[in-house]
């Protein structure tokens, strides 16, 4: 991968370059208090783009998988039905996407277009998406209590799957090209060649950042993967998780790697029906309920178990060559019952320790 150096004052010129190429550029902004959000960059808000800020709860996943997405229109008339697929795939760039979210989009790539039955809608939108990854280097702003990308092996700096990666070296930024279209931006004079000193500075900063993550989840994440795969997590641990789950579906809503959706038809005009897909959540009781009322997954702890099983079970990781948990910590931040991923890993750890103590 090629790397270049640019002056701190020139970083937002990357946004301008992308806009000139016809991209709608999405960037993170700060609202009031903790609230941060992704929004389209305009002339009016360009100066308010933040380079370091807490990662928005509402993930940028929606730019490849909108939470409500029209799939097709069916027109009835003259004794016939005409079906028209509806595509919405503008050229978009996400400026300042974090490494965990880059991994989330890569997981969606593997899931939707990496296997048989490629998802046309996802594929068209993904092809037009340009990712400018920002490495999390500011412990005060970028890294939250809930972050555990180091355990999920997705951060703080993505190793791949971005078009361009930016890292704050202080007065300068290092830009790394991940794709040919990312490298093409280096033709602009804002980018200059760097030296050994820059590489050394990058390594120092990354080493420093790594020390700001909590340790518990890091050391037990792989153990949780193993125990869930082997089915050795105690039923009582799942029941405890189920007891604390309020079934709000928030964890799945903010997850950058959740893929489930439901499909619904709505009438938009006389004789015209729009079929849309909508994000769905395995936390909700109706997720597996069939017509007639039979529900094979009725108990709440079966459903909670399901979410963690789907994310950490080894067969899924092997099938998608990517884990459905990217360590962003959003589920931990939004969960009212404190059963986000890090807490559940911690509960599995505690239960194992207790069992080990009782056995010895």
């Amino acid at each position: 991968m090629k790397a270049r150096i640019l002056d701190r004052r020139d970083v937002l010129k990357i946004v301008d370059l992308l806009k000139r190429q016809g991209y709608e550029v999405i960037a993170p902004f700060r609202g009031r208090g903790r609230d941060t959000f992704f929004d389209t960059v305009s002339d009016e808000n360009r100066e308010r783009i933040e380079l370091h800020l807490p990662n928005p709860y509402y993930p940028p996943k929606r730019y490849v998988l909108p939470h409500i997405e029209p799939l097709l229109n069916a027109h009835s008339g003259n004794g016939g039905i005409r079906i028209q697929p509806t595509f919405d795939d503008p050229k978009r760039a996400i400026f300042g996407i974090r490494s965990c979210d880059v991994a989330g989009i890569y997981h969606l790539d593997r899931f939707y277009i990496g296997r048989e039955f490629r998802d046309t809608y996802y594929e068209r939108r993904r092809k037009n998406l340009f990712l400018v990854n920002m490495v999390c280097t500011d412990p005060g702003e970028d890294i939250n209590r809930e972050c555990f990308c180091m355990c999920a092996d997705t951060g703080p700096a993505s190793r791949d799957h971005f078009d361009m990666q930016l890292m704050d070296l202080g007065d300068e930024f290092m830009a790394v090209a991940g794709t040919a279209r990312g490298e093409a931006l280096f033709d602009d004079p804002i980018f200059t060649r760097g030296g050994e000193g820059h590489l050394k500075r990058r390594a120092e900063i990354l080493n420093g950042v790594r020390s700001h993550f909590k340790n518990t989840t890091r050391s037990w994440f792989s153990a949780a993967v193993r125990q869930i795969t082997q089915g050795t997590v105690l039923e009582k641990t799942w029941e405890e998780v189920g007891d604390r789950c309020l079934e709000c579906g928030g964890c799945t809503y903010v997850c950058p790697a959740c893929t489930c959706f439901t499909v619904s038809d709505r009438k938009v005009a006389p004789g015209e029906v729009e079929r849309v897909r909508v994000w769905d959540s395995c936390a909700l009781l109706g997720f597996t309920r069939m017509a007639g009322g039979h529900n094979p997954r009725r108990a709440v702890h079966d459903r909670r178990n399901r979410r963690f099983f789907r994310k950490l079970e080894h067969h899924f990781i092997e099938r998608e060559l990517s884990m459905a948990c990217v360590g962003c910590g959003r589920c931990a931040a939004v969960c009212h019952g404190d059963v986000g991923m890090p807490s559940v890993v911690e509960m599995i750890r505690r239960a194992t320790m207790e069992t080990d103590n009782n056995e010895s």
Binding site: G80, I81, I83, T120, Y121, T259, D265, F287, F316
Partner: protein, 282 residues
């Protein structure tokens, strides 16, 4: 289907005729508007399913009761939810959408040379009808073929003309039972659950080199499995189809995933050994 196709796009189908099967259950004979779709679809395997669209209401998975050796394509559907109720309103000439076929289907070629035992309860006969007709069409490929079928009452026996024909045919041993009969029902046959047919004197069920197909409501499934295991069937020689809430049919929407298996793409046909290891009720 072509890999470049839009996996969510149904093709338009036309209802040819509708026949009442049993109360709440109708059979819809249909064909695709476009003959190319019809030819592509006809390569389905017994045990596969299709996604049926009623535009404005939704889409649901439906078993394919016809055998690929038959000329007509049809669905047999019970009116149980909003989509199936809407399908029941369709008349000949009406249009709807079909995607598929999907799923693995029964590996009928792998069973060549073996005896086939079909055990069905209620509308569980719908997916098995495809296999039975297919096996009879390829009669010389299989050893004995037995059908044990039970319904709640004589009026709820599915595909009655076919059942009567199978009872008379030489190549197939067909035994019927009903849970109960009303005063006005004409019924001379056995009364009892489907497992009671196994115990009728003179019934000789092959076990060695035999595949047992079981489809029916969950409670019937549990009892029949117990009976078959008691007869000496191995878990990997019992096959069934699983039913799950599904939205896409192509391994994307996530609703039908049990354990590590997507029922839509890795199923709906599973051996009992696989079902037991999936860790969820049928």
């Amino acid at each position: 289907m072509n890999p470049d196709d839009n996996i969510y796009l149904p093709r338009i189908a036309v209802v040819d005729r509708v026949s009442d099967e049993i109360p709440e259950v109708k059979t819809f004979y249909w064909h695709f508007e476009d003959d190319a779709d019809q030819q592509a679809f006809r390569k389905f395997r017994p045990g596969q399913f299709a996604q049926v669209s009623i535009f404005g209401v939704g889409e649901f998975p439906a078993s394919l009761p016809p055998s690929p050796t038959e000329d007509e394509t049809f669905f047999t559907v019970r009116s149980v939810g909003s989509c199936t109720a809407a399908l029941h309103q369709l008349k000949p000439g009406d249009k709807f959408g079909v995607r598929g076929p999907y799923g693995n289907g029964f590996p009928m070629e792998e069973y060549y040379g073996r005896s086939l035992v079909f055990v069905a309860g209620g509308i569980g006969l719908i997916p098995l009808r495809s296999c039975i007709v297919y096996a009879l069409k390829n009669r010389e490929k299989y050893d004995r073929i037995l059908v044990f079928y039970g319904a709640r009452s004589p009026r709820e026996l599915m595909y009655l003309p076919s059942l009567r024909e199978w009872e008379r045919s030489a190549g197939i041993e067909c035994r019927l039972t009903v849970d109960r009969k009303g005063p006005e029902d004409e019924w001379e046959g056995n009364i009892g659950v489907v497992g009671s047919l196994f115990k009728i004197p003179g019934t000789n069920i092959p076990v060695d080199n035999t595949i047992a197909f079981v489809c029916g409501p969950p409670v019937m499934f549990r009892f029949v499995i117990r009976d078959l295991l008691g007869l000496g069937f191995r878990e990997q020689d019992i096959v069934s189809t699983l039913e799950r809430y599904m939205k896409c049919g192509v391994g994307k929407c996530g609703h039908c995933c049990i354990g590590v298996a997507y029922v839509c793409t890795q199923g709906p046909v599973f051996t009992y050994e696989q079902i037991r290891n999936l860790g969820e009720d049928i």
